[in-house]
Symmetry: C2
Subunit: 171 residues, 2 copies
Amino acid sequence: MTAPLVARPLSAEAFRPFGDVLEAQGDPDRIINDGHCGRWHDRARIDMAGGPAGLSIFRASPRRFPVSIGLLERHPLGSQAFVPMAAAPFLVVVAPDAGGLPGAPLAFVAGPGQGVNYLRGVWHAVLTPLAPPGLFAVLDRVDEAPNLEEHRLPAPLVVVPDAASGAGLEI
Amino acid sequence: MTAPLVARPLSAEAFRPFGDVLEAQGDPDRIINDGHCGRWHDRARIDMAGGPAGLSIFRASPRRFPVSIGLLERHPLGSQAFVPMAAAPFLVVVAPDAGGLPGAPLAFVAGPGQGVNYLRGVWHAVLTPLAPPGLFAVLDRVDEAPNLEEHRLPAPLVVVPDAASGAGLEI
């Protein structure tokens, strides 16, 4: 039995090798609209490998800790951004590539006001909201190019919150 | 004194000439992730006129009804999508073009779970959240091409909610 994977609060620094955290962190790059709005400019490394990007809406069933992850996937032809449409947490599980398969996974809890953009080709778990409504806007490739690789894990990964993330995650 | 403009609940049909409503309305186009997630596919008419699209974060000060609008703007070189990162309403004011200037404006209240994508060149008011946190992900052009036209209205437009939209909008 493998030890559970502990999900830490999501931070831009820890997540950088896998993608971008979409959040209003630090000072805005610009102040617009007569001072009424801050703009944190161009915060996602969008890379569609020449294909068309589109905005779609995803609605996924919320899960509760401990979360069991049986499958990781990646998109060889494009980055994929998830913007939560509610101030609700979701689980982010990623893994470095190790010779074409996922290596040792990491887990993060994205808090209210945080979205993520997975870099092209990064192994990740499917969309896992931790509270209703599970509604997200998604920016990814929208053509029919073969853009999905899946890897079923030999044993499901069990993800638990750390003490900090666990607080306030009751649905 | 001009009569106030009444903001109606946002609907995809009424908004179509100006842009797209980003929402999980009706049946999903696809069911993914072993049945746990619906995908409403490619719901925004993204048009960057050949320029680069990027994801930015905006945080704007919330306003309260009646809302006074003194300025409309448009982006001749790209569409602009706003995805709220909280289940909170925001005000959407648009106008058809009338010989290079905004024509008669329309106002809508986007409810929880609704974002908008303004078509390229559509006159609109600046981002106007109606409740905290005023946090949005924005997909628009991120280069330095001259992509902003502004029109200051001769008299400010006063926007009020209709009976349906007004309910539940207290901050």
